[in-house]
């Protein structure tokens, strides 16, 4: 296995552009931002912020596992979201998924996230950098 490779997992929603799910370099893995999409059909899951963020973290977790890493090896996360009222929900969902040693985090509000205009509203996306096993 090369120490420098792109990874596309069958367990994450398939990339819709010129990017991979993740890129592994040495013992680090950079994961593409994940939205709350079902890996099977690519559709946004229901359940508002809670549903979308839970699914997005599921996708992140599946991609990390396929890169020989895991959620508890995440070093940094970035979370972008569209509604300031969702801030507390983000913390609540993340608290159920991330365990010590916890990652560092940067979050900010955006005007919009990649979606099909008029058909769906993507409320959140999350990316990460992690170490591999």
């Amino acid at each position: 296995m090369s120490s420098h490779r792109g990874v596309v997992s069958l367990r994450g929603p398939q990339p819709t552009g010129s990017y991979t799910h993740a890129h592994v370099q040495g013992r680090m893995v950079w994961v593409t931002a994940q939205a709350g999409r079902d890996p099977g059909n690519g559709e946004l899951v229901p359940g508002g912020m809670e549903g979308q963020l839970s699914r997005a973290i599921d996708n992140l977790e599946a991609i990390l596992e396929d890169c020989d890493s895991s959620l508890d090896r995440v070093i940094t996360t970035q979370i972008m979201y569209t509604d300031p009222a969702d801030a507390d929900t983000i913390d609540a969902v993340c608290a159920t998924r991330f365990r010590p040693p916890l990652p560092v985090r940067t979050t900010w509000g955006v005007k919009f996230l990649a979606a099909e205009p008029g058909r769906e509203v993507v409320r959140v996306q999350i990316d990460c950098v992690a170490e591999t096993r």
């Binding site: 680090m28 916890l102 985090r105 940067t106």
Partner: protein
Amino acid sequence: MSSDPTIVTKEAPEPRGPYVHARQHGGLVYVTAQIGRDPKTGDFVVGGFEAEFQQAIDNLEAILKAAGSSLAHVVKAQIEFVDERDLDAMNRIYGERFHDPLPARTSFGVAFLWKGAQVQIDCIAALDG
């Protein structure tokens, strides 16, 4: 993972969610985005953008120190701010706090930040020595 790679210090505002102030990995320290909250009270400092940005950098500095690094060791900084009219003040204050060799930097305007913060800054820095 032999020793605990995480850093949380009383000299910066307590993390308000499931994350830590900083993490060491591979000779680098990664720092959570800091906003203009007073470490003692946890409240936003008064004085608008400039006061918030100064406090955010103070918090970053305190965390870097606790992690065995400093502002002088920052490799990359990232700044998000809400109002484009604060650009000049951001650049001025940043120039007062960061010196040669200057880090790489990405800054951009955002729709909003947590609980009405005007600005935040995170960084990746080298560990001292």
